[in-house]
């Protein structure tokens, strides 16, 4: 598969009609793995990195799970293509900055990705829409075991899988869920949640990971520690914390509807008006408006059939996707025009809000 075919084909995240989950948008697990006899990517010479890449990419691409996917060195992608992959949560920003010797393997439906020579030799990632840790863990566990048949992993019985950074030692696993928490944001409870989650050994980040903002009320919540507990224990613990947050969000929604329904209806209704009629929308504003529409769907204001569209627009209104759709490089100001145009077209087709039978 070629990169442009991949970008234009349906992906796990942009084809989310199967997602029935009101709060959890996506589940993701990544594993950090390294080869035993080679220096980590940050310390390896360019020639060594290329050798490692060849060995890893050959082994990964041979897996039946990755068949008919894309396998490509990072340096042969242009900036826009890399940005699109970042916006789809397939690769990290760190990998984009890699000058030489890094690679990417993505499977056909874009649910499994392996980054080669990012911080570690291998970063294996599996993602699925909705709240599906069991399924995602089963998939990635098999993928990892299959890969290990062909690659000699660096492993210590005491410290587990050895990683470039000691924060990833042990399981090398980061499990995360992307959550849509508009009611907790509106009712100013997010700070409290972030603090509580931190005390439970989990981390809250914005939509695009470390350092990104939380536009669209979307947060990524993941485990902080990787050593000392088994993968199943970490996932179970995280699952428990996430379930509590889902409950908190649903409670906050109920409370908003009970105490001041007009305030929330106003926000949801205005979002529709702006998306249908705006001419300049930056990505932050677009995300926040789409977030309100998604909340409206959860509350029964808009039809549930629109959910797939909104989840897709969350990704397609990002700067890289906007430029790709318009087939060129555009300045932020021009992108805002293009984004608003796309959203006007989509929302012209969407039936108006109906506040008569809101549910929670």
């Amino acid at each position: 598969m070629k990169i442009n075919e991949l970008i234009d084909s349906h992906s796990e995240l942009t084809d989310t009609s199967s997602n029935r989950s009101a709060v959890v948008l996506m589940t993701r697990i990544r594993l950090a793995r390294n080869l035993r006899k080679h220096p980590f990517p940050g310390w390896a010479k360019d020639a060594q990195k290329r050798e490692i890449r060849e060995q890893c990419m050959q082994a990964v691409a041979a897996l039946p799970q990755m068949k008919r996917g894309l396998a490509i060195p990072v340096e042969s992608l242009d900036e826009l293509q890399k940005q699109i992959l970042v916006e789809r949560h397939l690769i990290s920003r760190e990998l984009c900055h890699s000058k030489t010797g890094s690679g990417i393997i993505i499977n056909k439906d874009q649910s499994c990705v392996v980054m080669v020579n990012e911080e570690d030799h291998l970063r294996i990632q599996v993602l699925r829409v909705g709240f599906q840790f069991k399924k995602v863990w089963a998939t990635i566990n098999t993928l990892d075991s299959d890969l290990e048949e062909h690659l000699d992993y660096a492993f210590s019985p005491k410290l587990g899988y050895l990683s470039a950074c000691p924060t990833n030692l042990g399981t090398g696993m980061r499990a995360s869920a992307m959550m849509h928490l508009p009611a907790l944001v509106i009712s100013a409870q997010m700070e409290k949640v972030v603090r509580a989650v931190g005390q439970l050994g989990m981390v809250v980040r914005g939509l695009f990971g470390e350092g990104s903002d939380a536009s669209g009320s979307i947060f990524q919540i993941s485990n902080q520690t990787t050593l000392g507990e088994s993968e199943e224990q970490i996932i179970k613990h995280l699952h428990g914390v996430l379930t509590t947050i889902v409950d908190q969000e649903l409670n906050a929604r109920a409370k908003l509807l009970e105490t001041d329904p007009k305030k929330i209806y106003d926000k949801i209704g205005r979002a529709y008006g702006i998306l249908q009629n705006g001419y300049l929308l930056n990505s932050g504003e677009a995300m926040n408006l789409l977030s309100l529409i998604r909340l409206g769907i959860d509350l029964g204001v808009y039809a549930d059939t629109q959910r797939g569209l909104i989840d897709r627009l969350f990704i397609e209104c990002q700067p890289g996707h906007v430029q790709h759709a318009a087939k060129g490089a555009f300045e932020p100001g021009q992108r805002d025009v293009l984004r608003a145009e796309r959203l006007r077209t989509e929302f012209a087709k969407m039936p108006p809000p109906d506040f008569s039978n809101t549910t929670n």
Binding site: P157, K158, C165, T171, G228, I234
Partner: protein, 166 residues
């Protein structure tokens, strides 16, 4: 005690012995008077053993220059990047890593997945080697019945071993 304890940070005899519980784990340090003064151990209000452990281990002066013999990565490099050079670094930096792991993680020992197939592969390889040796010995000794049996076992074992690594 036959030999008086030496200070953890220099070579003077230790006269200050401190025990502190951090994250439910007991940590002990033994310091000479000068180092204890310098590290502020005598000022109970502003002292944390965890800080001391972390700082003393991250500080290259007292422990000298740990260097990974496999890739040449030094403690200074770690201080700069926060990452190690190669998997073998963990063999050389163990002593200063452990206190860090304790604050970083939920324990200091791995209890999760073990690369199962690597272990199986090792066992199978060992068995294949054994059978090959047995077969050669039997042929040399002209024990042909035994040799035939070893040959069959070997081909069966090779089949179950599956594809070799790339």
């Amino acid at each position: 005690m036959a030999n008086p304890l030496k200070c953890d940070l220099c070579v003077q005899p230790a006269t200050v012995h401190l025990t502190q519980i951090v994250n439910n784990k007991i940590h002990k340090v033994d310091l000479c008077e000068a180092c204890a003064q310098a590290k502020g151990v005598t000022d109970p209000s502003g002292f944390s053993l965890a800080d001391l452990l972390l700082k003393s281990s991250l500080n290259p002066e007292p422990t000298g220059d740990i260097r990974c013999e496999s890739c040449g990565f030094t403690q200074q490099d770690f201080k700069k990047t926060g990452r190690f050079g190669c998997p073998s670094c963990y063999n050389f930096f163990g002593s200063f890593l452990e206190p860090m792991l304790d604050t970083m993680h939920n324990g200091i020992a791995h209890t999760g997945k073990i690369p199962q197939r690597a272990q199986e592969r090792k066992t199978i390889d060992e068995r294949l080697n054994q059978l090959e040796t047995d077969l050669n010995l039997a042929i040399k000794a002209e024990r042909y019945e035994d040799a035939a049996r070893f040959r069959d076992e070997l081909s069966q074992a090779r089949q179950t071993a599956g594809p070799k690594p790339l």
